[in-house]
């Protein structure tokens, strides 16, 4: 088994692992082992990313709020989230009277599985993605909206009035904003002419869509940021939780690790929308290029794609965190007004403009 490791292109590595496994076992077993490896890698990645994002959010909000943030457990508090996790694991899972036990128990898993599945399609670098559908964007949108089922079930099965209101709000909110997310991604699909995520990234080799897509791409990016923040139930759109109104919304009755699942899923959804924004609008793992073949471009090419991808993703995540910690919360009717009266019409016009631009071949 020859390992050809290249930080700029992972397809050689994955192919050599595949070939090596096929040499020593039947193809069916090889695929099974590969799936197991991918699953394990994603589990570890998911856990580490969750820990990091929780820590990052606490540090970012501390920065905004004139505080220090966690700084006691470990150097600069980096072990704080692990301590929190241990606490959540050891907490009692409070059983509820008159709750629908089955639905109550599976709701957190539905939420977390939805966020888990979406990660699979995201291209982290050249050749580094679990599955590369030709309908990648469609898959991510479809899978990430499954989470709302879990939230609705959680609110319904807890048999609590606050939870039910939170779940209903969440249902109305996510289903409405799904439209804007889909339509804003559609503008770039029209530009790129493909729904395959790796294809969209490749189409940005000579410039990110936000730069070469004229104003419609910028408009779509802004709409995508707003709508995806709403879809992840984060502030200023955290109406489903709204701790000053509904105590904790749909997860009021959850405790211990079940609560941690909702909590983790929120952070992972944030990562997914940020990485989708990066992949579709900001060039994915493509480096920043200006002009053609100059020294600047060569230096940018030298930075590995993984650094580019995660760098851009964390910039977008920082933006989303900034929203949460500086804006007040919207009211439910204003939330729906924003979507149906402003974002959706703007989006539809935007798509028409994009279609026209593409038809006339006026884009770069």
């Amino acid at each position: 088994m020859i390992m050809s490791f290249n930080i700029y292109d992972f397809s050689g590595l994955t192919r050599s692992i595949d070939n090596g496994l096929r040499e020593i076992m039947s193809p069916g077993w090889a695929i099974f082992i590969e799936l197991a490896i991918i699953g394990l890698v994603f589990l570890i990645f998911y856990a580490l990313l969750g820990l990091f994002l929780v820590y990052a959010e606490r540090k970012v909000c501390a920065l905004i709020q004139n505080r220090l943030g966690p700084n006691r457990v470990g150097p600069a508090g980096i072990l704080q989230t692990i301590a929190d996790l241990i606490k959540l694991l050891m907490k009692e899972l409070i059983p509820l009277k008159n709750a629908d036990k089955l639905l109550f128990n599976i709701a957190p898993f539905i939420v977390i599985i939805a966020s888990f599945m979406a990660i699979a399609a995201i291209p982290f670098a050249r050749g580094l993605h679990a599955i590369d559908f030709n309908i990648g964007i469609f898959y991510v949108i479809a899978v990430s909206s499954l989470g709302v089922v879990g939230i609705l079930l959680a609110g319904w099965s807890s048999n609590s009035k606050y939870s039910l209101i939170g779940a209903m709000r969440s249902g109305a909110q996510i289903i409405s904003y799904e439209l804007s997310v889909g339509l804003s991604l559609l503008t770039i699909i029209v530009f790129a002419g493909t729904m395959q995520l790796s294809g969209i990234v490749e189409s940005q080799a000579n410039g990110w869509w936000i730069f070469k897509g004229h104003i419609p791409a910028v408009v779509a990016f802004i709409i995508f940021l707003i709508a995806s923040t709403a879809e992840t139930n984060r502030g200023p759109f955290d109406l489903a939780e709204a701790e000053s109104e509904l105590t904790a919304g749909f997860h009021t009755e959850y405790s211990g690790i079940r609560f941690a699942f909702f909590f983790l899923a929120e952070f992972m959804n944030m990562f997914i929308v940020a990485s989708m924004a990066v992949t579709v609008f900001l060039g994915g793992w493509m480096p920043l290029h200006f002009g053609t073949d100059n020294a600047f471009n060569h230096i940018m090419d030298f930075i590995p794609p993984l650094v580019w991808f995660f760098g851009k993703t964390f910039v977008v995540i920082y933006l989303i965190m900034l929203f949460k910690w500086t804006f007040p919360r919207l009211r439910i009717d204003q939330l729906l007004t924003l979507e149906w009266k402003y974002l959706l019409p703007v989006n539809l016009v935007n798509i028409l403009v994009v279609a026209f631009l593409t038809l006339m071949e006026w884009h770069f």
Partner: protein
């Protein structure tokens, strides 16, 4: 009668009733709103108070007048000094004691510092209620400066208990004036940040502008005083209407607005912070020399009769009514607390708006629950 009460509380059968409180993050204490909903829209609100009733008025009948002062701290703990002063002024009025001008200046300064500190905390909580979590830390950062001034002079931070019939327990720290001047300089720079963070925010504007307007008639009928009443154009600032202490000599304006909506209640308080700083600036350099207290008798016995004194706390009009039979303890004591009256106007304001608005309205009324129940 009982049937009627039951109907008011429970409403019709098909109503969706939720209890906001007594354990709820946005009631700032143990207050319970029984809210009957239609979807998200509020049909009826019934406030239930009494969860933190400690019988302060009854306890007053047992205590001597200097002891009573320390009970009043525990009503509206955010304007503790002003509550203390109300009892002191009432007792001094009954005994016909003239306190030195030195004391009246310091009392007024402490009043205004307390008012600013209270409004700062209100701003923190208002932002939190609206979902803007950062406001809390900005407000507390600035409030800390005032509490440090209190701590330096009197050793206590939240409730000072420095007032006593006839003056103060102890004089101010020599560095008091310098610290106050520093604070005014500091806070004049920081207060515009409040506007940048919250007042100018488009979401905040949408959530407050035109929401739950209170007419002047409503304000008067429900007895809503303080900034909430003044936002509806009800001129109720006791410092102007029925001046006490040093206030007749000070130039300041009463913050009046006419809209009466949530935003104007918000703005009145922001403006009051500026105005309080103006008052402090007039006082800080002019504190006359003198004793910090008049020598009083060891046991205070008020002459038999009825005595009333009202002051302007950070939340409205606080009235202290003493019925004395000539003993060292009052025969009956009654407090007209501002929050009790301010609370019940919510039954008129909230119906027709959303749950989120209920939280914003109760935030803009700036309720302190122990003052409601006493």
């Amino acid at each position: 009668m009982q049937e009627e009460v039951k109907n008011i509380i429970l409403g019709e059968d098909e109503d969706y009733i939720i209890n906001v409180g007594p354990q709820h993050p946005s009631t700032h204490g143990v207050l319970r709103f029984e809210v009957s909903l239609q979807g998200e829209t509020i049909k009826k609100v019934v406030p239930h108070c009494g969860y933190i009733h400690r019988g302060i008025e009854k306890m007053c009948e047992r205590d001597t007048y200097p002891q009573i002062i320390h009970l009043t701290d525990r009503m509206d703990y955010l304007s503790a000094h002003i509550n203390n002063e109300a009892v002191c002024l009432c007792v001094e009025k009954a005994l016909e004691v003239e306190v030195p001008e030195h004391v009246t200046y310091i009392r007024a300064m402490l009043d205004e510092l307390t008012r600013i500190a209270s409004h700062q905390l209100w701003w923190c909580a208002m932002g939190m209620d609206m979902g803007a979590l950062t406001t809390f830390f900005y407000g507390l950062r600035d409030r800390e400066q005032i509490l440090d001034i209190f701590e330096e002079s009197f050793g206590t931070r939240l409730i000072q208990s420095v007032n006593t019939p006839g003056g103060l327990m102890n004089d101010i720290h020599p560095g008091f004036q310098k610290r106050v001047k520093e604070f005014i300089k500091y806070f004049r720079k920081k207060l515009p940040e409040y506007d940048q963070l919250l007042t100018g925010n488009v979401i905040f504007r949408e959530r407050t502008e035109g929401i739950a307007p209170m007419s002047r008639e409503d304000a008067i009928q429900f007895g809503v005083t303080g900034p909430s009443g003044r936002a509806s154009g009800f001129s109720c600032d006791i410092r102007k209407v029925d001046p006490y202490g040093i206030y007749p000599k000070i130039h300041f304006s009463e913050m009046l607005r006419t809209e009466g909506d949530t935003l104007s209640r918000y703005k009145v308080r922001i403006d009051e912070m500026y105005e309080s700083m103006n008052i402090l600036e007039q006082l800080v350099d002019n504190i006359p020399e003198g004793n910090f207290a008049v020598r009083m008798k060891a046991v205070l016995r008020l002459p038999a009769g009825e005595f009333y004194q009202r002051v302007e706390t950070a939340r409205g009009e606080l009235g202290v009514f003493i019925v004395s039979d000539g003993n060292k303890t009052p025969y009956r004591m009654k407090f007209r607390s501002p929050n009790f009256s301010n609370l019940f106007v919510i039954t008129k304001l909230a119906p027709g708006y959303k749950i989120a608005d209920l939280i914003a309205i109760s935030g803009s009324l700036d309720l302190v629950i122990p003052d409601i129940d006493r």
